[in-house]
């Protein structure tokens, strides 16, 4: 499968997805199609390699969840994105599709406070359990102290 074939297949199956580029393909889907799109990427585009999952805080426009998967046999890279919308911090979990999403989503929860629905074990991973706040949100100030220090 080439990148062009993959793009055509995405356009055919996910009419509501915005698709740009070819190396990598960047596809933005609505949040309710997130899990279905990941299943499609793995099963039909052959993107079995789970590179990473993270989020970007676009302030007033809300959070964007970003994941990158690759088809290692045909060297096709796919960027999956979804905009959660202002004030929304819930997103479908990809753990049922990719095992690697487990730790990555825990990190997303830890840093952005995103509740990944369907995650088997959603708890903080890098910070301690009693940490307050989500450091990678833009509203989390870096220049003011966050006592107690630990």
């Amino acid at each position: 499968m080439t990148a062009d074939q993959a793009r055509a297949l995405i356009a055919e199956r996910f009419a509501d997805a915005q698709v740009e580029g070819s190396a990598p393909i960047v596809a933005t889907v609505p949040p309710d199609r997130w899990l279905a799109f990941a299943q499609f990427a793995r099963q039909e585009l052959g993107c079995g390699f789970f590179s990473f999952l993270t989020a970007v805080d676009w302030k007033d426009q809300g959070l964007e969840v970003v994941a990158r998967v690759d088809n290692l046999d045909h060297n096709v890279s796919l960027f999956m994105k979804t905009r959660l919308g202002p004030g929304v911090s819930a997103c479908a979990s990809l753990t049922s599709v990719y095992s690697g999403a487990n730790w990555m989503e825990r990190e997303g929860f830890d840093m952005f406070g995103i509740r990944f629905e369907g995650h088997p074990d959603l708890r903080r991973i890098l910070l301690s359990d009693d940490w307050e706040g989500y450091p990678l949100l833009k509203s989390y100030a870096v220049d003011t102290p966050h006592p107690p220090y630990r």
Partner: protein, 386 residues
């Protein structure tokens, strides 16, 4: 006065009882601060919960507060055992968005230091892994000392090039910071030849040792499907039968100019990962030789003479770049907003994903095998926790 009565405890020897055991956070085999909460049934592990984050410094938030000129030297603190490739990922991301050119000489110098770094990192892995498996190797520390001795030679080369032995700040957006000093190329060639001659010695020491083979073969098998689904990369992925090396599949920095083999093993066990790395030693040295032979003349940076740290501005845009580090895919997802600092930086540490394989492969093994499996995964906790 009567003797105190002794309370008899009935022990259940049928092996059905489960025991929870803490391994770490300070455990010599972890090569860092890592805690594994093990559930044991007798000597067999049935469950593992990995606790990480002890070295967390929030590099990603830090990157949002530092300029493109400042952060590369901080990036080297993610994977501090292979600092060169960590810096490489960050500067490549900034260069990709900004479309900054990198002169050919700088590209070759980047290849040389990255490959030397891979050898240095693999040497540390081999030494510490074999020491973990200790007694079985007739004293254990022998091969560790040999490897450290060899690694020193590479660190000496880096010291004369950069002035630092472990954390370099060698890369900058647009090129590299230092050119090679007089006589460096000659001493680099000598070191490469010496290292090349030593590798077969280690192979002989290990592969003719039945204890080593027993502890490495068939232990910690990772199937191809699991490997991809978890997202492990580098020697682990190639040890599970996937022919994937970013230097070949997605070439950068003139890697397409060099002739090298990508080792692939299909067994997926500790021994397969060991074999992949042993071949990579030689291939890396081969690349260094070729790059030294053909090192072009010319400038080492397209952006010389920066006067202030805020001078490098990257236009609005976003990208994900990846380089093949010693431990696998080191990636940097960068979102730039046109200012002197990134809007968002995501660091994909190869060790983070590689370590996530542990809960999948450890159950079913004996406690002693955890040490062999951990060592074969080769995590660096600076990169896991970031």
């Amino acid at each position: 006065m009567t003797a105190p009565s002794v309370k008899r405890v009935e022990l259940d020897y049928t092996g059905s009882e489960r025991l929870t055991m803490n391994m770490g956070p300070q455990h010599p085999s972890a090569h860092g601060v890592f805690r594994a909460v093990l559930t044991l049934e007798g000597e067999t592990v049935v469950g593992v919960d990995s606790v990480i984050g002890y070295l967390h410094r929030c590099h990603e938030k830090l990157a949002e507060t530092l300029t493109y000129a400042q952060y590369p030297s901080i990036a080297s603190k993610t994977d501090y055992v292979a600092a060169m490739t960590s810096e490489f990922a960050y500067v490549r991301a900034a260069e990709t968005i900004g479309k900054f050119e990198v002169p050919k000489r700088a590209q070759y110098l980047r290849v040389i230091v990255s490959e030397l770094q891979r050898v240095a990192s693999h040497l540390l892995w081999l030494g510490t892994w074999c020491m973990d498996m200790g007694g079985a190797l007739g004293g254990g520390a022998t091969i560790f000392l040999y490897c450290i001795r060899e690694r020193e030679l590479i660190l000496d080369l880096f010291e004369s090039l950069v002035g630092a032995r472990l954390l370099y700040g060698f890369f900058q957006v647009g090129g590299v910071r230092y050119d090679v000093p007089d006589g460096w190329i000659a001493s680099c060639r000598e070191t490469v030849d010496l290292l090349d001659s030593r590798i077969s010695e280690y192979e002989q020491m290990l592969e003719e040792n039945p204890f080593f083979m027993a502890r490495a073969q068939g232990v910690g098998v990772i199937t191809r499907e699991l490997a991809e689904s978890v997202g492990i990369s580098g020697p682990l992925l190639r040890g599970s039968g996937v022919n994937w090396d970013l230097r070949r599949s997605d070439p950068y920095s003139s890697y397409e100019d060099f002739d090298f083999k990508v080792p692939v093993e299909t067994a997926g066990d500790c021994f397969a990962r060991y074999r992949v790395r042993m071949v990579e030693f030689r291939e890396s040295l081969k690349i260094v030789r070729q790059a030294l032979d053909r090192l072009p003349e010319g400038p080492i940076s397209s952006r010389p003479g920066l006067k202030s740290v805020g001078q490098t501005r990257v236009p609005k845009g976003e990208t994900y770049v990846r380089v093949e580090g010693a431990r696998g895919e080191v990636g940097c997802y960068l979102v730039a907003d046109g200012s002197a600092k990134p809007y968002r930086m995501k660091w994909r540490g190869a060790s983070f994903s590689n370590l996530a394989i542990l809960p999948h492969i450890i159950p079913g093994h004996k406690v002693a095998d955890i040490v062999a499996i951990m060592g074969s995964v080769d995590p660096v906790f600076g990169e896991v926790d970031r």
